[in-house]
C-alpha cells in the first residue's frame, strides 16, 4: 500500500478551480516530484494534503489517504497529531514560517515537547543534535538566536530541523530552495537527499525547477492548470517526454550543454490564455500540435508506468 494516495483531488476557491482532479501516490521512502509553473496548483495540492487551506475560502473534494486513512475526513485534533510525527512540511520562505520573536531553540523544543514529550535539558540536547544534523555550525550558540540573525540558507536548515524533529514518514517540501542562491541550494538539496537515504523519509518535492527534479526524484508528476498531464519515473520522463507541455518546458530551459545563442523553443502564449477555457485539453490554446479532438473533450490520463494526458502523444513522440 502507498504511504500517501491522492485521488481525484479537487480544490476550488469560489469559481476558480485551482486543482482539478489530481491523482498520484507516494510510497514509503520514495521521492516524488510535483512540477509545474506558477498557478498550476502544485502548492494548493500540498496545502490541501496538510489540511492547511482556509476552510471558508477553499472547497476541497476527493481523497488523500495516508496509510489508508482519509486525511480529509479526519477530525482536526487527529490531523494535528499526525502533523509532526507523520507528516511535516517545509515552506519556500523560511523567514515567514519562523516566529520572528522566538529564539530558534525554543521553536525546536516546542515541537519536541508537544510530539515527543521531551522536557528541559533533554529537549535542549535534542535541539542541538538536530541543528548539528542539518549542518548548522556551532549549534549550541545558535539556539539563543532569532531568525533575523541567520542567513537564508541557515533559516531553511532550521526549518528542516523543525520538520524532521519527529522523524516524519512523509516530508512535503514546497519550493524549499527557490529563494536561495545556487551554491546554498546545492547544500540544501544534498541535505534533503541525505535525510531520505539515512532515515527512509518519503519526500514529496514541489518545485518549478526540472533540474532539481532530475537530481532528486524517483517519480515525477507534471502539473498544468490543476491537472496532472504527465506522470512517470524520472529517468523515463526526461528520456521520453510525451506530453507537449513537458516537451515545451524541457525545450525552454537554457542548458549548460547547448550551443550558446541558439534560439530556445519556448511554449507560446501564457497560462492566462487558459482562463475561461473549459472544454477539452487545457494546454490546447498553447499547443503546436492542437487538433480537433483536443478541444472536443478532456483527454484522459492514459498509460501504465508512464502516463500522459494527450490524445496526440504518439505523433508528438
Amino acid at each position: 500500500m502507498a504511504l500517501l494516495e491522492v485521488e481525484d483531488l479537487r480544490v476550488s476557491f469560489g469559481e476558480t478551480r485551482a486543482v482539478d482532479g489530481v491523482d498520484f501516490q507516494v510510497d514509503e521512502g520514495q521521492v516524488v516530484g510535483l512540477v509545474g509553473e506558477s498557478g498550476c496548483g502544485k502548492s494548493v495540492t500540498s496545502l490541501a494534503i496538510m489540511g492547511l487551506l482556509p476552510r471558508r475560502a477553499a472547497s476541497v473534494a476527493g481523497a488523500a489517504r495516508y496509510d489508508g486513512v482519509d486525511l480529509f475526513s479526519l477530525p482536526r485534533g487527529e490531523m494535528r497529531r499526525l502533523r509532526g510525527p507523520d507528516l511535516a512540511m517545509v515552506f519556500q520562505d523560511p523567514l515567514s514560517s519562523l516566529n520572528p520573536v522566538v529564539q530558534i531553540g525554543r521553536q525546536i523544543t516546542e515541537v519536541l515537547e508537544r510530539h515527543r514529550g521531551m522536557r528541559g535539558e533533554a529537549a535542549r540536547k535534542e535541539a542541538v543534535h538536530l541543528l548539528d544534523r542539518v549542518g548548522i555550525p556551532d549549534p549550541a550558540r545558535r539556539l539563543g538566536e532569532y531568525p533575523h540573525q541567520l542567513s537564508g540558507g541557515m533559516r531553511q536548515r532550521v526549518l528542516i530541523a523543525i520538520s524532521v524533529a519527529c522523524a516524519p514518514r512523509l516530508l512535503i517540501a514546497d519550493e524549499p530552495t527557490t529563494a536561495l542562491d545556487v551554491t546554498i541550494q546545492a547544500q540544501i538539496l544534498e541535505l534533503l537527499k541525505d535525510l531520505v537515504d539515512s532515515e527512509g523519509t518519503a519526500l514529496l518535492m514541489i518545485t518549478h525547477d526540472l533540474g532539481v527534479v532530475a537530481g532528486l526524484c524517483d517519480e515525477v508528476n507534471v502539473l498544468y492548470s490543476g491537472r496532472v498531464v504527465e506522470s512517470a519515473p524520472a529517468r523515463d520522463l526526461f528520456a521520453r517526454p510525451t506530453h507537449p507541455y513537458t516537451v515545451g518546458l524541457l525545450n525552454s530551459i537554457p542548458r549548460l550543454d547547448l550551443p550558446i545563442h541558439e534560439p530556445l523553443r519556448p511554449i507560446r502564449g501564457s497560462i492566462a490564455d487558459v482562463i475561461g477555457w473549459n472544454d477539452g485539453c487545457a494546454f490546447a490554446p498553447r499547443c503546436d500540435r492542437v487538433a480537433e479532438e483536443c478541444v472536443a473533450g478532456e483527454p484522459p490520463l492514459i498509460g501504465a508506468a508512464h502516463m500522459h494526458r494527450c490524445v496526440r502523444a504518439e505523433e508528438v513522440a
Binding site: E37, V182, I184, G215, S252, L256, S270
Partner: protein, 336 residues
C-alpha cells in the same frame, strides 16, 4: 599592471563600454544625533571589464556579490567611489549632471521586476513616451509612432497603448520594460536579472526576444544574472563575481568547458541540470558556509573562507590576474 585586481590591459579601442577599476563603497553610519561613519560595505571593489560593440557580456554571481551595484554604477544610478567608465570614448564618470542626463539616452536599463519599475498610474502610451519627453525627442505624433514601432518589435500589438501595467502578465510586462528601455534607441542596455522573475516557458520567450532585438537595434548588452545557464546562453563573454571582485573572465564557451577558478567550478557544479543521468554522475562541489560580510571581507583571496583548495598563501596575498588561455583570465593562486 598596476594593482592586483586589475585584469591586464583593458579598454581596447573597439570596446563600446570600458570599465576601469570601478569601486563602489557604501558608508555604514551609526549614531542618532551625530552620524559617524563606522565602516564601509565594499559592494564593488575594483572591477574592470570591456564590452565590444554589438556583443553581450554576462556578469554572474550570487546575491550580495555586487553585480547589481556594478550595473547601476556604470549608468551612474549609483555614484562610483572610484574608477572610470567610458562609453564609446566618452567618460561617463566625468559627466556633470546635465550632460549626464542627456548622455543617458545612449545607455538604458531593463529591471528584474517589471511591475515595480513601471508606474502603475501610467498607461502604456504614457510609459513609452516618457523617456522621449525627458529627452525632448519628437512631436507627440512622432512619439506615438515610435511607441507603436517599438511595441511591434517586442511583440505587443498597438492596441495595448491604452492599457495599464496591472493588466499584463509577467512576461508581457517584461516586454514593456524592454520596449521602454529601447524607446531612445540606446547603444548599451544593461539587463539586471531580466528573466529571473518569470516562469520557465516565459523566460525562454524573453531570452529569445532579447537576442532578436540585439540584431535589430544593434545593441550591446550587459546581462546581470545569478543563473549561469541563462547567462551562458545569452553571452559572448562571461565574468564571474564574488564579494565585490571579478574572479574569472572568459569567452562563454571557455568558462563552462574549462572553468579555472574554484568558485566558478563550484557554481557550475551546483546548477541542477534537467537530466537524471548527468545528475547521477556529476561531481558536486558543495561549498561550506555562507557569503562573508562585504563590510569586512577576508584578507588575501576573498573566496578562501569557502574554498575547498584554500592554503596559507590565500590568506596572505591577494591573487593577481593570470592569463590561462586566449582571453581567459583567472584570479587564483593555484592552477586548477
Amino acid at each position: 599592471m598596476s594593482i592586483g585586481t586589475e585584469p591586464g590591459p583593458i579598454g581596447a579601442t573597439t570596446d563600446l563600454l570600458s570599465v576601469e577599476d570601478l569601486v563602489v563603497h557604501f558608508p555604514i553610519r551609526r549614531g542618532l544625533v551625530v552620524e559617524r561613519t563606522v565602516g564601509h560595505v565594499r559592494a564593488v571593489d575594483g572591477v574592470s571589464l570591456g564590452i565590444a560593440a554589438g556583443r553581450t557580456y554576462g556578469l554572474v554571481g550570487e546575491s550580495g556579490c555586487g553585480k547589481t551595484t556594478f550595473g547601476r554604477a556604470v549608468l551612474r544610478l549609483e555614484e562610483p567611489t572610484g574608477g572610470r567608465v567610458r562609453l564609446d570614448g566618452t567618460e561617463v564618470t566625468g559627466l556633470r549632471s546635465d550632460r549626464l542626463r542627456r548622455f543617458r539616452s545612449r545607455m538604458q536599463m531593463v529591471f528584474q521586476d517589471p511591475l515595480g519599475s513601471l508606474n502603475p498610474r501610467h498607461n502604456v502610451d504614457m510609459l513609452l513616451a516618457e523617456p522621449l519627453k525627458v529627452h525632448g525627442v519628437g512631436s507627440r505624433s512622432e512619439q506615438r509612432r515610435l511607441a507603436i514601432e517599438t511595441l511591434d518589435a517586442v511583440g505587443l500589438p498597438s492596441s495595448v497603448l491604452e492599457r495599464y501595467p496591472h493588466e499584463f502578465s509577467g512576461g508581457q510586462r517584461q516586454r514593456l520594460g524592454i520596449a521602454r528601455a529601447l524607446m531612445l534607441r540606446p547603444d548599451l542596455v544593461i539587463c539586471d536579472e531580466p528573466v529571473s522573475a518569470l516562469d520557465v516557458s516565459i523566460q525562454a520567450q524573453v531570452m529569445n526576444l532579447l537576442e532578436q532585438l540585439q540584431g535589430e537595434f544593434n545593441l550591446t548588452y550587459l546581462v546581470i544574472a545569478h543563473d549561469l545557464a541563462v547567462v551562458r546562453h545569452m553571452s559572448d563573454r562571461v565574468g564571474v563575481m564574488y564579494l565585490g571582485n571579478l574572479v574569472e573572465e572568459a569567452d562563454s564557451e571557455a568558462i563552462y568547458d574549462d572553468p579555472r577558478h574554484p568558485y566558478t567550478k563550484a557554481l557550475l557544479s551546483a546548477v541542477p541540470q534537467p537530466d537524471p543521468e548527468a545528475e547521477a554522475d556529476r561531481e558536486r562541489i558543495i561549498l561550506k558556509g555562507d557569503l562573508p560580510s562585504p563590510a569586512d571581507p577576508p584578507s588575501g583571496c576573498r573566496f578562501r573562507t569557502r574554498c575547498p583548495w584554500a592554503a596559507d598563501i590565500c590568506a596572505e596575498e591577494v591573487p593577481v590576474w593570470r592569463e590561462v588561455g586566449d582571453g581567459h583570465r583567472v584570479a587564483c593562486h593555484f592552477d586548477l
